[in-house]
């Protein structure tokens, strides 16, 4: 019994199909509890007023945007090394989800920035790196769409993901060097002295769990769809060959 058994598409679908409703239900429950708790049952912050509550969407989506890319990187590596098709398809399935998360983080950040910083957009390092991350997602998805042969597409996008990760990290430090930021530093680190107050921390934790579960559910669902599309195409080809 090893983890690689799940690389078998049939086994993957059989295992994940019953998991999806649980993950999805858990995500909905967590988001409902977290958002209601966060929006209605926490006090307003001293300096920020009610705008502080946007963190319940902003922070989890931003975290998932980065983690989705990390997951794609791992999946791409597994594809390049062990050539499991499920892994390549999982990377493909995660990309649009990650891109949407990036967009949500950018949008909620802009909504928060307007009353707080007095501007929708500033060329702040964090904002800029997220914009660059968004461009990387765009290129990755566009490359998948442009290549008709699935194996070739998986190979090329995996290499792009590897090279892109290196350059994304480089860009992150380049923009840090390039401009000083408006964005606050990390307030969620476990070892920092000054962290977010517990009143906001617990509902945020619930929202984080909700976003993670939502991501898992969406990626599993999309991967399953991709596998079924692939199988359908193979069946069609078989039928055509049988006719000819």
């Amino acid at each position: 019994m090893s983890i690689w058994e799940y690389a078998n598409p049939k086994k993957f679908i059989a295992t994940t199909t019953p998991v999806i409703p649980w993950a999805f239900g858990g995500a909905m429950l967590c988001l409902l509890v977290g958002l209601v708790w966060g929006f209605f049952l926490t006090p307003q912050a001293d300096r920020f007023g009610s705008t502080v509550k946007i963190i319940y969407v902003h922070v989890p989506s931003a975290m998932m945007a980065i983690n989705a890319w990390a997951m794609m990187l791992v999946a791409s590596l597994i594809w390049l090394i062990r050539r499991h098709h499920v892994s390549a398809l999982a990377a493909k399935a995660a990309a649009p989800v990650g891109m949407t998360m990036t967009l949500i983080a950018l949008f909620t950040g802009a909504v928060w920035g307007q009353p707080m910083w007095g501007t929708w957009w500033a060329w702040d390092p964090r904002l800029t790196s997220f914009l660059i991350l968004f461009l990387f997602y765009l290129g990755y998805i566009a490359l998948w769409e442009a290549i008709p042969d699935p194996d070739q597409a998986a190979d090329l996008t995996s290499v792009l993901c590897l090279v892109g990760s290196v350059f994304a990290i480089l860009s992150r430090y380049a923009v840090l060097f390039w401009n000083q930021g408006l964005h606050q530093g990390a307030t969620l680190s476990l070892d920092a002295k000054e962290n977010i107050s517990d009143v906001y921390w617990f509902p945020l934790l619930v929202c984080l769990a909700g976003f993670i579960l939502l991501f898992v559910a969406l990626v599993l669902m999309r991967t399953g769809t991709e596998i079924r599309v692939r199988r359908l195409r193979a069946l069609e080809r078989q039928a055509q060959r049988a006719l000819a």
């Binding site: 660059i132 461009l135 990387f136 765009l138 290129g139 566009a142 490359l143 442009a146 290549i147 070739q152 190979d155 090329l156 290499v159 792009l160 590897l162 090279v163 892109g164 350059f167 994304a168 480089l170 860009s171 380049a174 923009v175 060097f177 390039w178």
Partner: protein, 218 residues
């Protein structure tokens, strides 16, 4: 490798297109900027280094899609691939040829074009130095992108979408070093980072490009 390099250089110079075209494009972009932002000389001299860098970057992008696509169309690429030369070396030779026909002329042309942007006299050596250091990285990164999209019909637009985000660090450090040099500030950090990016891309990206070419020729 030398033969391939010479062949590419000869093709670029004699067949027209790449060589003069990107230089002309560079000139036009630099000429258009004052029309867009107004002719005030103090604004122009302040944004001058950045304009030259962005224009050089766009001009390099212009000739990238011809790099492998032409060889792929006329069937020369599979022949090159079957030669004893490894594809990694092919990618490096192609990048070198691209730099010699695009990056180097752009670097040399940047100084005279700086006059049009009313550049501070102190800025000229820095512009030439940073472009000379940075354009090899642009060529190698672009070669990787061109190798990635070689099999795709009308891949030019996709190529720009893939390559431009990869250009971000080079552009930031290059333009920053040029700007700081022009203002007489400390330049060691961005200059070293720029050189590091160039050295790193030169060392590693030909392997990625070679691997990608092998996948595309399968």
């Amino acid at each position: 490798m030398k033969a391939l390099l010479l062949r590419d250089l000869r093709l670029a110079i004699r067949a027209g297109g790449g060589f003069g075209l990107s230089l002309a494009f560079f000139l036009i972009v630099v000429v258009l900027v004052p029309f867009g932002v107004g002719p005030e000389s103090d604004i122009l001299s302040r944004i001058g280094p950045g304009i030259l860098w962005v224009a050089a970057l766009l001009a390099t992008l212009l000739s990238l899609d011809r790099q492998f696509a032409l060889d792929h169309e006329d069937g020369a690429l599979p022949l090159i691939a079957t030669s004893p030369l490894p594809l990694e070396a092919v990618a490096l030779a192609k990048a070198l040829a691209h730099w010699l026909t695009t990056g180097l002329p752009l670097t040399l042309a940047a100084a005279p074009l700086g006059v049009l942007l009313n550049l501070d006299p102190a800025a000229y050596p820095w512009i030439v130095l940073t472009l000379g250091l940075g354009t090899p990285a642009l060529s190698v990164i672009g070669t990787f992108g061109a190798a990635l999209t070689v099999g795709i019909r009308r891949g030019g637009l996709l190529l720009s979408l893939l390559v431009l985000p990869l250009y971000v660090p080079t552009l930031i450090f290059g333009a920053e070093a040029a700007r700081r040099g022009a203002q007489g500030l400390e330049v060691a950090t961005p200059l070293l980072m720029l050189a590091g990016i160039t050295a790193g891309s030169l060392a590693l990206l030909p392997f990625a490009a070679g691997g990608v070419l092998r996948i595309n020729l399968r």
